[in-house]
């Protein structure tokens, strides 16, 4: 008996990526995908890559029928208030927005500027980063999505943080335009956005809260985000200042021990060819996080370079990976696309 899934908020970029993955997923059947603005239209109207793949139409959000797993991809703040309604619809819920990512209601209020509408639900949610919460996810009913900038940073520096080697980190994430979602704004207008190299959040980016939650507070974290010419993709350059310098061979061993068995993490640090460090361009549509590093000889600085597709490992990919764990499927099911080169 196939597992039935539905998507609430299916007209956006994360909703569309979820639909692409779930339509081609071997173990599930998509029942409904909702959009208030696109109700009644074929999904390919807003997701043109799906033309000819399905005759599915958008349902109205109020007409969602019960299903096994409910994915929610609505703007921040919406799901938090409506969680009771959604919990009546499905046994399992994966909310890709931010409302249930943080375990601490005070941290939510500090970073999202308003008290959480249903704080008592926070502890029921598991943070949906499989590489950090695999066991919990296997028995979870409610899972939050992950922030893309937090995820590319977390996965990059976690081995150093977990080993207690970090004194301080200065991270700058280079991001693409799809992070802002499908709604146009003055700053996303092509003549303004195209080719710009724009310091989007030099300080105060709220994804820091997820980095703290996942990696702890025993090192200083300085976090910035810069928008560059890119649609999908995030590249984090993390300047890690260690308590004691570490030779490269030890770094290889540390990262290999941490990630050897991870299906979606690749160590990319090559002495040959032109692809010597991670590049998000190559990861479009894949669920990979590529990680490389370089030791600044004679100092205590290690530069860790990590890359993801913000719509995949940073959102829809991790959400489907979490579903695979929750439902006991092969963790890689539906996530095998290797990416394109050249692209």
């Amino acid at each position: 008996m196939t597992t039935t899934v539905s998507i609430i908020g299916g007209a956006g970029y994360v909703g569309g990526e979820l639909l692409r993955l779930l339509l081609f997923h071997p173990n599930v059947t998509v029942r409904q995908i909702t959009s208030a603005s696109q109700t009644g239209r074929f999904v390919h109207t807003v997701h043109p890559n799906l033309r000819g793949q399905t005759m599915l139409k958008f349902s109205h959000p109020d007409s969602v029928e019960p299903c096994d797993v409910l994915f929610i991809a609505q703007p921040h703040g919406v799901t938090g208030a409506a969680i009771e309604k959604y919990a009546a619809i499905a046994e399992r819920i994966i909310d890709t927005a931010a409302d249930f990512r943080l375990r601490d209601a005070a941290a939510y209020e500090r970073w999202y500027g308003a008290p959480h509408p249903n704080p008592q639900w926070l502890e029921k949610f598991v943070y949906g980063l499989p590489e950090r919460h695999r066991a919990e996810l296997q028995s979870a009913r409610y899972v939050s999505g992950v922030g893309c900038n937090a995820t590319v940073t977390n996965l990059g520096i976690a081995p150093l943080a977990d080993a207690g080697l970090l004194e301080s980190v200065v991270t700058e994430v280079k991001v693409g335009s799809s992070e802002a979602g499908g709604r146009p704004t003055d700053s996303s207008h092509h003549p303004e956005r195209s080719g710009s190299v724009r310091s989007f959040k030099p300080t105060g980016h709220r994804h820091q809260a997820e980095i703290r939650q996942e990696l702890g507070n025993n090192f200083d974290l300085h976090f910035s985000v810069t928008a560059i010419e890119m649609v999908r993709g995030a590249l984090a350059t993390s300047h890690c200042f260690l308590k004691d310098p570490l030779p490269e061979k030890e770094l290889w061993k540390l990262y290999r021990a941490a990630y050897r068995d991870e299906p979606f993490i690749r160590l990319v640090k090559s002495r040959v060819g032109i692809h010597r460090y991670p590049d998000p361009k190559l990861l479009a549509g894949t669920n990979f996080c590529d990680i490389g590093f370089a030791v600044d000889a004679g100092t205590n600085r290690v530069v860790v370079i990590s890359a993801i597709d913000n719509l995949m490992k940073g959102a829809a990919g991790s959400a489907v990976q979490a579903m695979n764990l929750m439902c006991g499927f092969d963790e890689r099911a539906g996530l095998g696309f290797p990416g394109l080169h050249p692209i």
Partner: protein
């Protein structure tokens, strides 16, 4: 002689040598891509082969 395993001098990865590997042959480390020359088989010893420099000279 079944395929031997050597350790990459650069990144400590396991480098599986083909069963019919010969002295002087170049094998590549699967993880860091370093090209290694098989100096001798008994005892097994490898050294870094000459390599091209990165050319992203931006």
């Amino acid at each position: 002689m079944s395929g031997k395993i050597a350790e990459c001098p650069e990144c400590a990865a396991n480098v599986a040598l083909p069963a019919d590997v010969m002295e002087g042959e170049i094998v590549q480390c699967p993880e860091c891509g370093l090209e290694l020359e098989v100096l001798s088989l008994n005892p097994l010893s490898l050294a870094q082969a000459p390599e091209e420099e990165e050319d992203w000279g931006e």
